[in-house]
Each structure stands twice: as structure tokens, then as C-alpha cells.
Symmetry: C2
Subunit: 372 residues, 2 copies
């Protein structure tokens, strides 16, 4: 007889030379990143925004039948349909969301999970109702500490069967900067199924795991939430048995549109000799980005890039650009962001057992042939 | 000094125990398949349809500036803007497109390229102008044999720098069943960038490589086209030096929505004991699907599934369903399609060096625990 432990094994780290396995590939073929040329768009076109789903994308035949319940440590439990949610004054916020596991597959040794390189990011205009409006209506009681969000996605993880659940400290849930949204629209259209149709949480500045999709319940709790995705997963640990720090806000990062054109298989880049306009985006969920620097010699020397803005979209990435003169040979281009808290991307990997929050500087090898 | 050969290596087949490499992963993180639960939709929601791009997705700042040229062996070369193309009576066709490389990563040994498992498929309503209308207007001269389509996507492949180019035999290009479309809309909206914005070819029944995206030129040729994607790639070969048969129409295939719910990492499925409704889709680009069979014992015995339709969408997949009673234990579920030409999916892998047209029967391992 097979047991759940046979199909749901403990977390592990790959052997030094171990290639990507079938399990990691199964995740990589269904989830997807932003093709980096998509960094050219202020708002990521539908279908190019990164997607990670832990389990299956729930099938929702009728948005009209969806209900959000709000209960727990509140005075007036609520049950809200989609029409009711849409009757509140809508708020739209442009938000860059990055997966907490972005950069995981570049770590050495590699934590075995969704094998992102650097592309698990995207920016959208999200429209919905401020969470604090709904919580005010429900009347949060004294003594509440967490708001727990439950999605309709269901699965097993490390032997634990679960609906996807995450909590926010009540202070963050009630905050107005950032203001958390219960969102029903993405870029002006109903949410696509893979982005949480019909309803999801959007928590500006936080890694993706906080933005609970297919949101069906909010429970206010007077005890800290200890569910799987809060205390077992999404923790920064060096050793398997330590409690670890929680994964929360997005560390600063800059990414570059790889210049020139690619080789199909190696994905190496080819540029012509001469002037090359480098560009990309930079973001941080901790504090506004204050500087982007570019290196064209694999991180030995750095020059300031032109950072556009700031504009009114505090929670979205900012565009940067840099003029480079390519000379024949091989080059490694890098960009790194610094935010107003002084956080700068590292040149050495910030390794942890589950591969979270790896904002190691991106390296873009470029080959410049002799002029023809 | 580095040379183009150093970044663009020959095609190869993986060693027997070789894991997925960084190059394959780089493709897998940017391209993506249909999450198989998406087989529930008649028309694949935007962003869930499979995407494969050989090079970068071209950035098109203004659709209005796009031009399609039609020339070569014609009487009246044409230059058409988007408004002109949209002024023709629009035709909408529902088409299932599958990548020619679908199933590649299941082959043993594994051809090294985009490592699809089974999910590189999707169905959309494509709207555009029939190609035969445009070719009639240009006036194809006697002696023409091929229509060559050039996209704006540019890169290197096995040492050959190229714009993506594919040809269709003139007979197929002028055909009315299927009718090839020069398409500017997908599911009623302008093409998303990754699906060819603003213009692409749609060739119902053919594998994805024929549906040239970012279409900018059609050249009618009086000699067979011998470009890279026609004579080097997209060939069925057992040995590297043989000419090989061209990849053309889609082989019959059925896929199942994996029942129950998944384990996050292993992607194994868990179902409760009792009645389970199995469902999926089946298609063939060669002839209409005439039967789908299901096996719940890893292909030892087969039973007929209920195949819905046919409806008016000849070039789209058909839904099928099958009632199964799950009993505690481990099961391997399979489905296979047969088309009107008598083609049935194989139980043994149809191996070839580049991993094309692998319609090996899908295997869905399912774990059914004892009732609680």
C-alpha cells in the first residue's frame, strides 16, 4: 500500500552536480516567468506576467456564484458576492509582484522546488476594494492579531493536505501605505483564471505568497496564524530545524532586458559592435529604489544608470537605462538596485534552504562578434 | 576570441541519466504549457495557452506602423497595413495548436531542446483574413511552389543567424479546408505580444512551427524553400545526417485533466475513493478524432470514453469524459485518441533525434488513499 508520504516527500537540496529533475520540470512547464524582453512594458501584457500556482488552478464556472466570507474575531461577519464587492468605490494600484522563490535555481546547492532563474516577476494594474474597508465594515474586535486568507486551491505539500492559506499581521492588513486590495480586475479586465479568478488579495510590496488567489475567506484571528505556508514554508533557514525568519517584503532587485538577440538553445546573447542601449526595471518592496548601477565587466566596476521617475506608482517597478559601447569579445553585463533603506543587491548568493528572496545580481553574458 | 560556434552548438541527445540542464531550464522558465486543468475550457483563457518563441518576443510599439509585404512570384506585389488587413471580411476559426516538440522531455534518450512534457497545446478563436484571399489579390504566377513566411523574430540557431522563416506548399497556402489565416485577433482581442502581435499565420491542423508569428513578409517562390526551419530543423530523423521527413500535421492525441488534487512537489495526484469523473480533450490535425479510449490500469485494458460532438469546430479539440470508480491504491490512468485515418496514439515512444510529434499516450499516476 502506498502512503501519502511516498508521494509527498520532505524538502531537500539538490546534490552538487544534480540536474533539474522531472519534478522540478513539471513545475517549470506549467508555471512561467516573464520573458525578460517583457521588462520593456510599464504594465506587463496579459499572459507574460509570471504565474506560480502551488496546486491546480481552480475552475470557476460562474463568477456570480462566488462568495467571500469574512469572520472570526469580528463584530459583524460578512458574506459578499461579486456584485457587492464591485459596488464599493474601486481602487486601482499598479503593483510589481515577484515570487519569493525567484532566483532559486541559481543557488548552489539548489533547493529543489519551482526552479526559477530570475524571471518570476510582473507588473499589473490591480482593481478592487481596500481590505481595510471590508475589515472596518466587519468590525475587527480588540485583541485581533492576524488576518488569515484562504484560497480555493487545494493540495498536499510535504505530507500536509491543505487549502492554500496565508496570514498578514493585522497592522499590515489594515494599513493604508501600502493599502491591501481584495482585487477582482487585472489591467481593467476580470482576473484571468491563473491570476485568481474571480478574487484575490494584492499586498503591494510583498512577495507573491502573500497575494492569496481564489480568495474565498478572511478570518480575523486573536492568535498568530501557524498554518503550513506561514510557519513551515516561506521561512529563511540555514538549518532544517530552525524556526527561521518569515519571508515578507520584496528585496531590491534590478533586471535588464538582455540586449541583442539570442541563440535558441544556449540563450546566449549576441550584440553588434557599437552603441547598445541597455534598459530594464528596478523595484523594492521595502523602500523606494534610489539607484541602479550597471557593470559591463561582470561586477568589477559599476556606473550609475539613469533611473526614471519616481512617478505616482510607488509599488511598481521603475525603468532605468544605460548607454554602452559594445566592443568585440565576451562581456558579462550586470545591474543592481539600491533602495532608500540602503539595501543593495549582493554579488554573493544569499543562500537559504528553500531558496527564498534570492536577489543576487543578474549576470547577462553577451557575445560581440567582430564587425563583418 | 569567442566564435559563434562556442555559443551555438550542434543539436544533441542527452546522456541516459542526464538531468535537465540550465539551457533547457532557461527555455522552460520563459515558454510555458497549458496547465492541464485548463483542458476544461473549450477556448483556452488568455495566458494559459502554450507559448513557444524561438528567439525574443519582438517589441512592437505601434501596431499601426506594421506592414505586411507580399511579393516574389506574383503579378502584383502588395504592401498592407493593419487597417487594410482589418478591412477585409473577417474570418474566425477555432483552432487547437500544439507544439511540434510536445512530449520531447518524455523521450528516452531525451533530445536537448525545449523540454516539454505533454502540455504544449491550447485552443483559441483566431480572426483574420484568409491567406488565399491575399494571394489571389497578389496574383500567384504559374510555376509557384511554396509560400515563404518571415517573422520579425531574429536569432541564432545551430550557428545560423536568421529571421524565423517557414514555408507552406502552395497547395496548402491556397487551401480552403483548412483555410490558412493571416490573423490579427485571438479570442476577440488584438494578439498578445507572445502570440504574434500584431500579425501571425494560423494554419489549422499543423503543428505550431507553421503558424509564423510577427508575420511581416510573404514571398511566393518558384523553388522549394530550403531555409533552416524547413530543412535542418523540424525533420523526423533517426540519424543526424539523414534528410528526414518534414513535420507537418498534428498527430492524434488525447489529454486528461489530472483528477483529484496534486502534491506540490511531486505533482502526484490524490483522489478520494468513489466515483471520479474523468475528462479531457482530443484532437488530430490529420483527420477528425473518431474515438477516445481510457485505461485505468496503465494501458493493459481500454474502454471507450464518451466523445462529445462533432461540432462545427473541425480544427479544435473535442471534449471527452469517462466515469471511473476509484479504489484505494495506486493507479495509472491513460487516454488515447484515434482519428478517421486510423491513427492511434502509441504505447511505445515514437523516438526521433529532435523529439518531434511525440504523441505517446499520457500516463497519469493517481494515488487513492483509504477512506478516512
Amino acid at each position: 500500500m502506498v502512503h501519502i508520504e511516498d508521494i509527498s516527500t520532505p524538502a531537500r537540496v539538490a546534490e552538487p552536480e544534480e540536474g533539474i529533475g522531472r519534478d522540478e520540470l513539471s513545475l517549470a512547464t506549467r508555471n512561467h516567468g516573464l520573458p525578460l524582453e517583457g521588462l520593456r512594458y510599464d504594465v506587463t501584457p496579459p499572459g507574460m506576467h509570471y504565474v506560480l500556482t502551488h496546486y491546480d488552478i481552480p475552475y470557476v464556472a460562474e463568477d456570480a456564484a462566488w462568495e467571500l466570507t469574512i469572520g472570526g474575531h469580528v463584530d459583524r461577519p460578512l458574506r459578499l458576492g461579486m456584485d457587492e464587492l464591485r459596488s464599493y468605490p474601486p481602487v486601482t494600484t499598479r503593483v510589481t509582484i515577484e515570487c519569493a522563490g525567484n532566483g532559486r535555481a541559481l543557488l548552489s546547492p539548489r533547493p529543489v522546488s519551482q526552479p526559477w532563474l530570475v524571471e518570476a516577476v510582473g507588473t499589473a494594474d490591480w482593481t478592487g476594494v481596500p481590505l481595510r474597508t471590508l475589515l472596518a465594515e466587519a468590525g475587527v474586535r480588540d485583541g485581533a492579531v492576524d488576518a488569515v486568507f484562504t484560497g480555493a486551491d487545494h493540495g498536499v505539500e510535504r505530507g500536509v493536505e491543505q487549502d492554500y492559506q496565508r496570514a498578514l499581521p493585522l497592522e499590515a492588513a489594515l494599513g493604508d501605505d501600502p493599502e491591501v486590495l481584495v482585487a477582482y480586475a487585472m489591467n481593467g479586465a476580470p482576473l484571468p483564471p491563473q491570476h485568481g479568478r474571480p478574487l484575490r488579495l494584492v499586498v503591494p510590496g510583498w512577495y507573491g505568497m502573500a497575494h492569496v488567489k481564489w480568495l474565498r475567506d478572511i478570518t480575523v484571528a486573536d492568535q498568530p496564524f501557524t498554518g503550513f505556508q506561514q510557519t513551515v514554508s516561506y521561512r529563511i533557514r540555514q538549518e532544517p530545524d530552525e524556526q527561521g525568519a518569515p519571508v515578507t517584503r520584496i528585496a531590491p532587485r534590478a533586471l535588464m532586458v538582455p540586449p541583442g538577440f539570442p541563440d535558441f538553445m544556449s540563450r546566449s546573447r549576441v550584440v553588434r559592435p557599437g552603441e547598445v542601449k541597455l534598459e530594464g526595471r528596478a523595484w523594492s518592496g521595502r523602500a523606494p529604489v534610489t539607484a541602479v548601477e550597471v557593470s559591463t565587466d561582470d561586477g568589477r566596476t559599476w556606473d550609475a544608470a539613469d533611473l526614471e521617475g519616481p512617478d505616482r506608482h510607488r509599488w511598481a517597478w521603475r525603468r532605468w537605462h544605460f548607454d554602452w559601447t559594445a566592443t568585440p569579445g565576451q562581456h558579462v553585463l550586470c545591474a543592481r538596485a539600491t533602495d532608500a533603506e540602503g539595501g543593495t543587491q549582493p554579488l554573493d548568493q544569499p543562500w537559504n534552504r528553500a531558496g527564498f528572496a534570492n536577489n543576487l545580481v543578474q549576470r547577462v553574458p553577451v557575445f560581440c562578434p567582430q564587425s563583418p
